[in-house]
């Protein structure tokens, strides 16, 4: 259970930014390895593409796009806070980053299915 002093918008935004960053860091080596197959083993790459056409992978990709989008927009908020002297409405900005990420990943999912 999350401790009481951490139950507020900006801490949850921090947590989401960290978790999405970690998961993306874990995903990237796998992503690059799969891409490398186009050069080293094109047949394996083709079969992986065919396998990735199932709905479970589509759902996983939706999560991935959400993580990427929430990390980008959450990161932009932090950069703006620290570099641009733009500091009002931080909670709204953090919530907006999540909303935009849901929108972007939702569009991705609708196009994928």
């Amino acid at each position: 259970m999350i401790q009481p002093h951490r139950s507020h918008t900006l801490f949850l935004a921090f947590l989401l930014h960290r978790i999405s960053g970690l998961l993306l860091a874990l995903f990237l080596p796998i992503h690059f390895w799969v891409l490398s197959l186009t050069l080293t083993a094109p047949n394996e790459f083709d079969s992986m593409l065919a396998w990735s056409d199932n709905s479970f992978v589509k759902l996983a990709e939706f999560v991935l796009v959400f993580l990427l989008a929430v990390h980008i927009f959450g990161g932009l908020r932090l950069i703006a806070l620290e570099l641009l002297d733009w500091n009002s409405g931080q909670k709204t900005a953090a919530a907006s980053a999540v909303a935009i990420a849901v929108f972007v990943s939702g569009i991705f999912l609708l196009r994928a299915i």
Partner: protein, 245 residues
């Protein structure tokens, strides 16, 4: 005929630096009652050995901060009705500071950090100089005004998880103080302060979790002050590089 007094269940942390635990007390409810009133009632009526710290009782001195139901609060201005949950309240000493006894913590680290962050006035004037007039509408002065109402209660220090994880971290209050001095035209060592707050344990350790600003009882915004220090230290570094070249 006297109506029966309603009582609430209050758990209070009792012990010292080495060990301790929560003890339960039944405290009568009043119409207007703060957490400090509750703690005082326990000391007066249940156990005179209960230790805690307070002074002004009106939210000016910053002495009485404690953890109330897991959240750091100024207890003299926190009404029971605001925080009572299932007729119970849990009171503990502030996080991130060593306990002396019961609810009183050793605040040395908190106050020492003010000095480490350059949080004293650096003057280059004497008593014979004319008093410099500062326009209250200047943007820099408005930044100072936004941060100077800190009462040193250490609520932000207790709320901050960077303080918990990093012994060297100066903490939100000390950095907020440094930010007010960096914007103070009368301070004669602003580059010196920027050097102090950009080192190990300085402003760049802040993860912008925002707990300091969320719980500051005076509604200051240390997170934004620290973001300002990050920006100014970077600008200072770049301008220094240009000067050196």
């Amino acid at each position: 005929m006297q109506s029966e007094t309603v009582k609430m269940n209050v758990s209070v942390w009792r012990g010292n630096r080495r060990d301790g635990g929560y003890l339960s007390y039944k405290v009568p409810m009043e119409d207007n009652q703060t957490i400090l009133d509750v703690v005082t009632w326990i000391q007066h009526n249940e156990d005179p050995t209960l230790s805690y710290r307070f002074a002004c009782r009106v939210g000016m001195c910053g002495s009485c901060a404690m953890m109330v139901n897991g959240i750091p609060r100024w207890t003299c201005r926190t009404h029971v009705k605001k925080v009572l949950k299932d007729n119970a309240i849990k009171v503990a000493p502030l996080r991130n500071l060593p306990v002396i006894k019961d609810l009183a913590t050793d605040m040395d680290r908190f106050f020492d950090n003010w000095n480490k962050a350059g949080g004293v006035h650096h003057s280059d004037q004497t008593r014979n100089d004319e008093i410099e007039l500062i326009d209250p509408n200047k943007p820099a002065r408005k930044i100072v005004d936004a941060g100077i109402e800190c009462i040193n209660c250490a609520v932000c220090f207790a709320a901050c998880d960077t303080v918990s994880g990093n012994d060297q971290y100066l903490g939100p209050a000390a950095l907020n103080r440094a930010w007010t001095l960096v914007n103070d035209e009368k301070d004669a060592d602003r580059p010196g302060i920027l050097d102090l707050v950009s080192g190990n344990g300085g402003c760049h350790n802040c993860h912008s979790q925002g707990s300091c600003s969320e719980y500051c009882p005076n509604e200051l915004d240390p997170m934004v002050a620290i973001a300002g220090l990050k920006r100014e230290t970077m600008r200072h570094l770049i301008s220094q590089g240009k000067t050196d070249a």
